[in-house]
């Protein structure tokens, strides 16, 4: 090779590199806490991400990492993603909040979107769904369906989102059945099918006959099916358990939000924000009502769903007392988002203590 061809090829190379740079599309990354086929939470984030990918086609590139434990591992994964050129990273579990904030500080040019948390920064947005609106509906159904006057709730971690879910479920179960009791079991995991199954069995053994799950797998429904009890789809419709034991479900739909935010990155208009959307915005969906739900309960939840969507009804409307009997909301008063976001107390009627 003589000098001329060497120079020519070097020029060609730099041209090629330039062309590659021009084609560089935004890289969108997703981090999931469970496997993408858990049938629930992580699967729905993944499917929404895929819907977003289909929407944009070649205009973006997508990277995903599943089953990332919350904590130090998450920080390592996020750093790796930021280093490998991700432009926007969605961290889709509550426990990624501090890792997201930490990594975001080190990479001010990378944008982050954290699900279900409350901390934001210039390059970190928080987005969440008002699951408690869905819990109001499933809670009411649980109250209407229980014959033992006892419903069970499988709690994952004692964080505000889960506590809101327990309170909302109980308040509306009590609307349907004033004698109802709620038993809460904490598992300290989002995904452990065997443990979720054991917890469901324990709740059944203790006399509950409707179980609401706040964990990610379909294991509770399998156990409920065997026992002839009722439950709900959580995060996903879990339609394979229709018509019973699953009598309705709370469905997360993240796709419209993902499309909107990626579009903002493409347009260069992305800004940090903190959004909380519910049934009205379509982020929380309610699955088809199936199974032997009594007619009046069915009419009630159908109306409640419309009222929540239109804003006519807020699931936390007074009078509501705290667990110790002290007043929280006066007659007709509606809970403010600040209190809800940091909710760390049970409402009156829920027994037991919240673990620290």
């Amino acid at each position: 090779m003589n000098r001329r061809t060497l120079l020519a090829s070097a020029a060609a190379l730099s041209l090629a590199a330039g062309a590659a740079l021009a084609q560089d599309v935004p890289k969108i990354a997703f981090v999931y806490v469970g496997p993408v086929n858990d049938g629930g939470w992580s699967q729905h984030h993944h499917e929404s991400a895929m819907e977003m990918k289909d929407h944009f086609g070649d205009r973006i590139e997508i990277v995903e990492q599943e089953s990332v434990p919350e904590g130090a591992d998450a920080e390592r994964v996020l750093t790796q993603m930021a280093l490998s050129g991700a432009d926007l990273i969605f961290t889709t579990s509550f426990g990624y909040m501090d890792p997201t904030i930490n990594v975001a500080q080190k990479f001010p040019d990378v944008k982050f979107e954290h699900a279900t948390g409350y901390k934001t920064a210039d390059n970190v947005s928080a987005y969440s769904a008002r699951f408690y609106e869905g819990r109001a509906i499933t809670g009411y159904l649980a109250g209407a369906m229980t014959e033992t006057d006892k419903i069970g709730y499988i709690g994952s971690f004692p964080i505000p989102e889960v506590i809101r879910g327990i309170n909302s479920s109980y308040l509306h179960a009590a609307q349907a059945n004033p004698d109802v009791e709620i038993a809460v079991v904490w598992l300290n995991t989002w995904f452990d099918p065997a443990k979720e199954a054991d917890a469901t069995q324990a709740l059944l053994d203790q006399g509950a006959d409707v179980v609401l799950a706040h964990t990610d797998s379909t294991a509770p429904l399998s156990v409920l099916e065997k026992a002839g009890a009722y439950g709900f789809g959580q995060a996903a419709d879990m339609a394979e358990f229709k018509p019973t034991p699953r009598i309705s479900s709370i469905i997360d739909d993240w796709a419209p939000y993902y499309i909107e935010r990626v579009q903002a990155v493409l347009d260069g208009t992305w800004e940090s924000h903190n959004v909380w959307q519910g049934i009205g915005d379509g982020m929380v969906g309610i699955g088809e009502f199936t199974g032997p739900i009594p007619e009046d309960a069915l009419t009630h939840v159908t109306r409640m769903k419309e009222d929540i969507a239109s804003g006519a009804y807020h699931p936390f409307t007074g009078p509501i007392n705290k667990q110790d009997g002290s007043a929280w909301l006066a007659e007709g008063e509606v809970a403010d988002d600040g209190t809800l976001a940091g909710m760390d107390f049970y409402v009156e009627g829920v027994s037991g203590e919240i673990p620290n």
Binding site: N37, A197, Q201, D205, S351, P355
Partner: protein, 302 residues
């Protein structure tokens, strides 16, 4: 709290780790440390589920799970016994392979229903008040696991083959000098351990949950490994360990569901806490009973 329901739940919860731990104990008795229990369990879980769904027979599922667990463990056996690879690293690799392989095989079986394993109804016996329903009306695998405990105990204690297996585990050079086929004995033990772990996994996917979900054994294999140490490598110790661990797990969930005033944090850590306490007591007594050749590679030239 109804003791009948409680004992029934404990038996279901303890059976997977009992099977896996029992198999691993035999493997370790022969002087091999196989850290791939989790991988063999999850493979057994998915294969058992797949075969049960395809054939419509849960028992076929368990048989298939045992075979697939054994086949996977023989890969470990080939690497460590013939190629003399490091047992710890190979075992960990086996776990990773098992987790990946099961996710691959299982993707078609998400959301499907397994045929139910019927409860064994023993005429007369099952009708005994309390005891009958508590102990004598479970599915057949619960009794298979208990029978296996007795069989392993008798095998190790009373049979010539059991004595050879223990000799290989205690001092493989001497056993070799006496003319015993060290590698063959160990391969057989490894296959047995794999079969047990596979059945334990299938119990999770066919009875305890019952469905296939990726990663569903969620660390049960590691608990089985701990229980072998906890049991000081004795069959009935494994039984006690597995039922203790399963029992404390189920009881703490029931206590939570019943709304006791005991702090949840204490309840959640109780299974692990009790395991640690017992381990401390055992080591304080000084009798541990680990096979002397545990984890050491053997080659006839050495």
């Amino acid at each position: 709290m109804d003791p009948v329901l409680l004992v029934a739940s404990i038996m279901v919860s303890a059976t997977p780790i009992l099977l896996a731990a029992l198999g691993e104990m035999v493997v370790e008795k022969s002087g091999v440390l196989n850290l791939g229990v989790e991988g063999m369990m999850i493979t057994g879980a998915v294969m058992g589920f797949a075969i049960a769904v395809t054939s419509g027979s849960p028992l076929m599922g368990f048989a298939g799970a045992a075979v697939s667990g054994a086949v996977l463990s023989l890969a470990f056996g080939f690497l460590t016994q013939y190629l003399l690879s490091n047992q710890v690293a190979t075992g960990l690799g086996l776990t990773l392979v098992g987790l990946g392989l099961s996710a691959l095989i299982g993707s078609h079986y998400e959301g499907q229903r397994a045929p139910a394993l019927g409860k064994l109804d023993m005429p007369l016996l099952s009708d005994i008040p309390m005891l009958g329903r508590m102990l004598l009306s479970h599915d057949i695998m619960v009794y298979v696991s208990l029978a296996l405990v007795a069989a392993v105990w008798a095998f190790l204690k009373y049979t010539r083959a059991g004595l050879i297996l223990r000799a290989v585990g205690e001092d493989h050079a001497s056993a070799h000098a006496l003319g015993y086929k060290v590698v063959r004995v160990r391969m057989a033990a490894i296959a047995f351990g794999g079969a047990c772990a596979g059945m334990g996994g299938a119990y999770v996917s066919l009875v305890r949950v019952p469905q296939w979900t990726e990663g569903m054994t969620a660390g049960a294999g590691w608990i089985a490994l701990a229980i072998v140490v906890f049991a000081s490598w004795r069959a009935f110790g494994v039984l006690i360990g597995a039922y203790l661990f399963g029992g404390v797990t189920v009881i703490q969930l029931n206590l939570q569901a019943a709304g006791t005033t005991v702090p949840v944090e204490l309840l959640s850590m109780s299974p692990y806490l009790i395991t640690i306490i017992v381990l401390v007591i055992i080591s304080a007594r000084g009798v541990q009973g680990a096979p002397a050749s545990l984890g050491r590679s053997f080659h006839a030239s050495s």
